[in-house]
């Protein structure tokens, strides 16, 4: 193997992590990563450092992942009809009958400015992976693929209302998970 090939192969697990998080299907994720590596190996080039190589590979992966989502949009847009879908996502936060917070939201400080970002990102990824699959996919389409709500509706043939409800739940769940796993720990 050339050094370039070795570098690409060494990043397989790194790519798989993102593909799994976004696609929530191991077989699809492995296919998307294989295609990414084949495409990368066909265009050998040199990078100043590993971060640049990673950024380039992730860029290719995102295109492959969007193709996958498009291809499987029927399976993906069939939203899980569980009890969770019927409950109000704001129920996790306690409000009085008059609509006031029972307990004021806590002050999180500025964790994004702290040096422990690597640890924080690990928790963020763990929290995102715990979202129900359909919510997680939509959430990552917004936050990792950086698609607009309009683009997501178009790709998956969802109604805006449907999308907003799912994203709303996802954001509140993520907030809850971060509060439990990062902020509480950080302030303990």
């Amino acid at each position: 193997m050339t050094p370039f090939e070795q570098q690409i192969v060494a990043l397989q697990d790194y790519l798989l992590k993102f593909a799994r998080l976004q696609l929530r299907n191991d077989a699809w994720a492995e296919d998307a990563v294989s295609e990414t590596m084949v495409a990368a190996l066909a265009k050998p080039q040199s990078f100043g450092n590993r971060s640049q190589l990673k950024t380039w590979l992730v860029g290719i992966l995102k295109h492959k992942v969007i193709d996958t989502l498009r291809h499987h949009h029927r399976e993906i847009s069939g939203l899980e009809n569980t009890d969770d879908e019927k409950s109000d996502p704001l129920e996790d936060i306690a409000f009085h009958a008059d609509g006031h917070f029972v307990e004021a939201p806590s002050d999180w400080g500025n964790p994004e400015q702290q040096a422990s970002s690597q640890q924080f990102f690990a928790i963020l990824e763990a929290c995102a992976s715990k979202l129900p699959a359909s919510q997680g996919r939509l959430f990552l389409m917004r936050e990792w693929l950086e698609l607009s709500s309009e683009e997501i509706c178009k790709e998956l043939q969802l109604t805006p209302t449907n999308l907003y409800v799912q994203l709303h739940r996802a954001r509140l769940r993520l907030r809850e998970c971060l509060e439990l796993n990062w902020y509480m720990k950080a302030s303990a």
Binding site: Q6, Q7, A10, Y14, N49, R50, S51, K54, T55, V58, L90, I93, F95, D98, G99, H100, F101, A104, P105, S106, D107, W108, N110, P111, E112, S117, Q118, F120, F121, L124, E125, R142, E143, W144, E146, S149, P160, L163, Y164, L167, H168, R171, L172, L174, R175, L178
Partner: protein
Amino acid sequence: MPFNRTCREVAALLVAREDRNLGLADRLALRMHMVICDACPRFERQMLTMRNSLQQWRNYTAPDDSAENAVPPK
């Protein structure tokens, strides 16, 4: 009163704002509520922290830390 919103309604708007543009009435109601409320600005800061953290996360590539990238000994 169209501009009189509860914290619960305002929290819902603060979450929704991450994914869609709010209408004028909602934006005004939000701004007015923020002036008189202690709890909702905190919730807003939490949402902004999440937004900033997620932005950093997606642009983050771990530093060159793995062994195969180390310069081989001469």
